[in-house]
Point group: C2
Chain length 413, copies 2
């Protein structure tokens, strides 16, 4: 982040922090407890950008949202937790459309102005009557408490709601981006614009709002850049979901127009919300005891750096060693090596926080007790210096614990 740009981070902010947005949640009874249907609404027609999972098996709401995101104006996002509406055929598609209709009727807009998301179990038909009940019950509000309420309603196996906002001054006026994310398992997002919807489970859902005015193409670019550096760089189990979706709505309530001239600043504002949200996902990963940051530096290309970072972040042997608080750097070297990136291990160095454990192809004489102490903290940074170039990438993951197995072996269909 450039020093010249002053961004104020708002840890209690969220989707209704930007001006002109209201939201609400209610319980339809899809999850076993709590609110499970949410609505996020722009009071005025907004511009929308969207990215979706690359999984060849896509949930019904992904298809419907891809279609509706192409509409020139967008008013709302409707989402449910507890059922992914995935692998549900034609009836699933009809139910996803019906969710948009329900929101449109409540708001007095067209169904095409509504984006839709689902998360939960795959392969069960969505109980649309429960969604109907919840939509009727939702009260739209713009209070500070709304941010948490709406973020909480989107949770499935998440242990805590994840939301934040950031604010900066552009052209003399205050502009905000607010966001929330859900997802702690089936997390290995790989989202991009859905050019050609091919077919139709959801886990990482990120909803972002801004009161800037941003033309649709530019908004899409800002979202894609932000997602690539944040949600697409976080993993829990590497299992890319069938429902991953991120939306960014821009409603112009601030009166600030984003143009080529202030686009960089706006992108940094989006990242200032997306990156903390991505780290919250890793920290709350199923069974996680630790947030792990993987920094790969000195790669020949950013693609190489990302590939190595994500291979380390997904390695079961690395993640179990970190759970065991074992400074087993050999597994880090193994994982970097199996990434498919060609590099020279004789030029590679490995750090656990600030402790250099491996230098230019050979072990250092590091103090094991000190390294074990480092491994025992709540956060760990693993740094790989490749010595192959100037490109860097940062990814986030968590350790792999008994509880990950428990949560996923016992989450029965």
């Amino acid at each position: 982040m450039s020093d010249a740009i002053l961004i104020e981070f708002l840890p209690q902010g969220g989707v209704v922090t930007p001006q002109g947005f209201v939201a609400g949640a209610a319980r339809g009874g899809i999850k076993t407890q709590g609110d499970d249907v949410i609505l996020i609404v722009s009071e005025q027609p907004a511009t929308a950008a969207a990215v979706f999972t690359h999984n060849a098996v896509k949930a019904a709401p992904v298809w419907v949202s891809a279609e509706h995101a192409a509409h020139q104006t967008t008013r709302a996002i409707i989402a449910n937790a507890g059922n992914a509406n995935c692998c549900t055929g034609e009836r699933g598609l009809a139910n996803a459309r019906q969710m948009c209709e329900l929101a449109a009727m409540k708001l007095g807009c067209s169904a095409q102005e509504v984006l839709v998301c689902s998360t939960g179990i795959i392969g069960h038909q969505l109980p649309i009557e429960k969604v109907t009940i919840a939509v009727e019950a939702i009260e739209l509000q713009g209070e500070a408490e709304t941010n948490e309420k709406v973020a909480r309603a989107s949770m499935t196996t998440d242990t805590r709601p994840k939301f934040c906002a950031a604010r900066m001054v552009i052209d003399g006026k205050s502009v905000s981006v607010g966001g929330q994310v859900k997802g702690v398992g089936m997390i290995g997002p790989d989202m991009a614009a859905l050019q050609t919807p091919q077919a139709l489970h959801a886990t990482l859902l990120a909803f972002l709002t801004t009161d800037a005015e941003v033309e649709k193409t530019l908004l899409q670019q800002a979202l894609e850049r932000g997602v690539q550096k944040s949600f697409n760089s976080v993993t829990v189990d590497g299992d890319t979901s069938t429902n991953d979706t991120a939306f960014l709505l821009a409603n112009d309530a601030s009166g600030v127009s984003i143009t080529e001239a202030n686009f960089e600043a706006f992108c940094q504002l989006v990242e200032a919300v997306c990156i903390p949200l991505a780290k919250m996902v890793a920290a709350d990963g199923e069974g996680a005891t630790k947030l792990v940051t993987i920094e790969v530096k000195g790669a020949a290309t950013a693609e190489d750096a990302k590939r190595i970072a994500m291979t380390i972040a997904n390695s079961p042997l690395v993640k179990t060693a970190i759970f065991g608080r074992d400074p087993n750097w050999g597994r880090l070297a193994m994982a970097a090596g199996r990434s498919g990136v060609v590099f020279n291990p004789q030029q590679m160095s490995i750090y656990l926080d600030d402790i250099e454990v491996f230098r230019n192809g050979e072990p250092t004489d590091f103090a094991v007790a000190e390294a074990e102490a480092t491994m025992s903290r709540e956060e760990l940074t693993v740094r790989i210096q490749l010595g192959a170039g100037q490109a860097n990438w940062t990814a986030w993951t968590c350790d792999f614990s008994y509880d990950y197995v428990k949560i996923n072996a016992e989450y029965h269909t």
Copy 2:
């Protein structure tokens, strides 16, 4: 396997089943208990084929064996368990060469006629004096018990030795292939001929012997074909080791020459040993309670089929569901979809053993109790029918249990 070819499987067979091979093992004290150094010897100069890990970080013995495998004749394989001799720099390389020297001195051959492998912990110098003690103590034998003894000595976290052989008649004479494999963790092999050794931890080690006469190029082809369908199609954690190696020695003691005419038969004999060994690896995978066979059928290409099979085989969500005996086919659909292969889910069907749980994009009305009973057996076959073409692939994996986490969080450096 063609019906016309009669292959006799020898479950108690191993590396000394083919004529003209002897072997032995002894304890040097590298592992905490048991024999840890092995020698497999052809009484006459043999031809060797070799494949090595694709990991960019390669152990010292990989470099040395790649060099020695190019030699026209080979007499022996020396291997140790308990230390991978990986990330050990120049000294590691010298120690790998010294292992070959020790075998060469014992056998009266040149060091270039000796192939070398190591498996165990990464990043610790090999205690070469312990290898020296063991090599002196090894008694070379060709008895039936030798097969198990030598296979046992190569074990690290393996719970049982893995060995077998197969025999067939070619040109009126009996020809055998014998083999052994070790490895139950850091298993996601990706082995191929090492064209250009680039730099220098070992886990899957497969040693194969045959008493056929096979010219070096043809022998390499037979090994690569066999490995691709077996060891390169088995996974425990997807973590491709730094030391994965497979060797095939051919010594002509049977007097049968393999030519273009009988090459297919010979390849089937090699596969008849490699595939059972690969299944033994998956069945003995760290913490495994179940052997899982993944059959992908009807793909557009074999590469597509393999990619889907291996993505399912490595999915933490699939593997934990199988451990939980949960017929959660949604996770199978998710994993197939995230493989990167483009296919139409509306044409995909999914089977758990013979139970069709998903047909052409929608759930079937299968009996959950019956599916749970299927999931409770010691072996499970998952079959994905893609409806996209004629290509098939089979892979093997195991479930993901509390014990996997325990073994790998507590295996301290």
